[in-house]
Symmetry: C2
Subunit: 148 residues, 2 copies
DNA sequence: TATCATATTTAGGACTACCTAAAGATACAA
DNA sequence: TTGTATCTTTAGGTAGTCCTAAATATGATA
């Protein structure tokens, strides 16, 4: 099992805070699949880093700085999932892979990927290339670019 | 500095082995930006895992199993770099990001991304959508799908 | 072949995220 | 208010990757 990064904690805390106003030790531990004492330890560290306000026995909430990080991560996550779905990955795999990757992509790359997703989603009509890609995916045959 | 994964070592060893027949401790250390004793330690571990043949004072070579892993990683790396370049990322950033990500993508996703890259590269003519995307990238304007 | 610069390993230690077991706090129900 | 089940933290320890300093092996050169 890969070690949990600061980013993963921040994201989980964000989700729990949205859900119930606060992120409790046990809930974080359940989601990250680790034991509660490990979470306590990390919450103290995140508190020292000014990413969360941690009150013993009362769980944690994100600071503005932590919130900013969380929102950027959620945005990256969303972009990756949408991209994976465009290229024909099932939602479940897309979610898992997005979690694995989202912390490792440069801001510049993420921005460009976002553009690509928007380019595809904002098409005024179903883009021909998407249909062609689906066809290529199934058959291995690459249709001519400008034929339907 | 992120801790080096087994995959990173395998990839570096592959590169050095291709270049000079063997991967020496110091060369690996230089590339991974760590000190030689750390490399020795890991080579012993990789040897135990049957990923390399490690002979003290003589460096390491990949086993067939290690070679297989390396080749899969190189392939993933290539796919990612090619994809990033399609969506307009400069080569340098593409290389860096590919290294960061390649170990974290599910096989299924990698396969699909490979298809997407091939779909784009194998186009019988320059795909219209790529031009449209470049235009969208520069201007923010989404052209109609089937207009040049 | 003896010497010596360089490469490598060994020894010992730091740091981090994780764990289990035990102690302490909380909150709800009797 | 007291008891108790649950949640949380503290204490102490493991494992993995990294480090520096010191010891050792290698190989080229004199």
């Amino acid at each position: 099992m890969a070690l949990k990064t600061i980013e993963e904690y921040v994201e989980v805390i964000y989700t729990l805070e949205m859900r119930s106003g606060r992120a409790h030790t046990t809930d974080i531990a359940l989601i990250l699949n680790i034991k509660p004492p490990s979470v306590t330890e990390m919450l103290q560290k995140l508190h020292d880093m000014d990413l969360v306000i941690y009150e013993p026995y009362r769980g944690a909430k994100l600071t503005p700085q932590g919130m900013k990080m969380a929102q950027e991560l959620m945005q990256s996550h969303k972009t990756l999932v949408e991209f994976f779905e465009i290229i024909g990955i099932d939602n479940e795999t897309a979610e898992v892979d997005a979690c694995q990757i989202e912390h490792h992509v440069a801001a510049k790359t993420m921005k460009q990927l976002r553009k690509f997703v928007e380019f595809t989603q904002k098409a005024p009509c179903e883009p021909i290339w998407v249909k062609h890609f689906e066809y290529f995916d199934k058959t291995g045959i690459r249709k001519k670019c400008n034929l339907k």
